[in-house]
């Protein structure tokens, strides 16, 4: 294990963390490509992740979180920004795409706001 840094924010540790996460993704790809794990079986891993591991993680971390220090203004501003982007993209897509398709507009809206917070953000923050 690499030596831990003394003191605060270590951006030096960030790039290794990102790199390590991407290596795991690559390993997943290699396993699927060479049929070490059948891609059709991979669905069960995502069920394990989405229905067991992630909810447990969320529950525990939210339950022990110090709610007093949350800057609700900051949170609100992030959410306002996200929501306005969603509206903007949805409305523009609805107007631009012919034939009229509200489903596609909604889908593009989700694309632009759905960020991979949990899938990439949590593991990256998790690397020691």
């Amino acid at each position: 294990m690499a030596a831990t840094i003394q003191g605060d924010v270590g951006v030096d540790n960030l790039f290794p963390a990102i790199g390590q996460s991407f290596v795991v993704i690559l390993i997943g790809y290699v396993f699927g490509r060479f049929r070490i794990v059948e891609p059709s079986e991979a669905r069960s891993i995502s069920v394990l992740v989405g229905k067991l591991a992630l909810p447990a993680l969320l529950f525990k971390n939210l339950a022990i979180l110090d709610l007093v220090s949350v800057s609700w203004r900051f949170l609100a501003s992030i959410l306002i920004a996200k929501f306005s982007i969603f509206l903007l993209v949805t409305v523009i897509s609805y107007i631009v795409i012919r034939p009229w398709n509200i489903g596609k507009a909604g889908l593009y809206g989700i694309f632009t706001t759905q960020s991979n917070d949990f899938a990439l953000g949590l593991p990256i923050g998790t690397v020691k």
């Binding site: 003191g7 997943g28 991979a42 022990i64 507009a105 909604g106 593009y108 949990f118």
Partner: protein
């Protein structure tokens, strides 16, 4: 999972203390709770319109109920809400810390998350690389660039 904030914070990590990084737990589920249901509702609506174009208005309440139920029963949303409620309950109602036995159990479950999430991202990419044609890729790139830049600007404006 807790100890992992080392990548960003070095050794000064205290479990439960609020870091900027902790916002990840709050932002994502809330956006899932509000924005995604709207999008899914639009998708379902357009699907209904395509199937039978006349009686859609009458089915609106049923559609909304279906979307709503899908959202509320989603384990991620459900556990987020449960976590916050538990937090408030533990801190203000009974004034006890989080029980160790439960914490240990949840740590076991949550510990698998990093490996399995990243691994499944990788394995889902198999075979999908050829399926993405030029036009779709262009649309995706445009959306991503727009999202990043506009989100940054709006976020900055709203915050200051």
């Amino acid at each position: 999972m807790p100890l992992s904030v080392r990548a960003l914070y070095g050794k000064n990590y205290v479990p439960g203390k609020f870091y900027y990084y902790s916002y990840i737990y709050l932002v994502a589920p809330v956006s899932l709770l509000i924005i995604n249901p709207l999008g899914f509702f639009m998708l379902e609506y357009s699907k209904q319109v395509r199937d039978r174009s006349r009686s859609v208005c009458r089915q609106l309440p049923a559609l909304m109920l279906r979307t709503f139920r899908g959202v509320v029963l989603n384990p991620i949303i459900f556990m987020t809400v449960a976590g916050v409620i538990t937090n408030v309950f533990l801190m203000y109602v009974i004034k006890q810390p989080f029980p160790d036995w439960l914490g240990g159990f949840l740590d076991i479950l949550g510990g698998a998350y990093s490996l399995c999430a990243l691994f499944s991202i990788g394995i889902f990419m198999v075979g999908k690389i050829k399926a993405v044609s030029g036009k779709i890729l262009l649309v995706c790139c445009l959306l991503i660039v727009a999202k990043r830049s506009v989100l940054l600007v709006i976020g900055y404006i709203v915050c200051s």
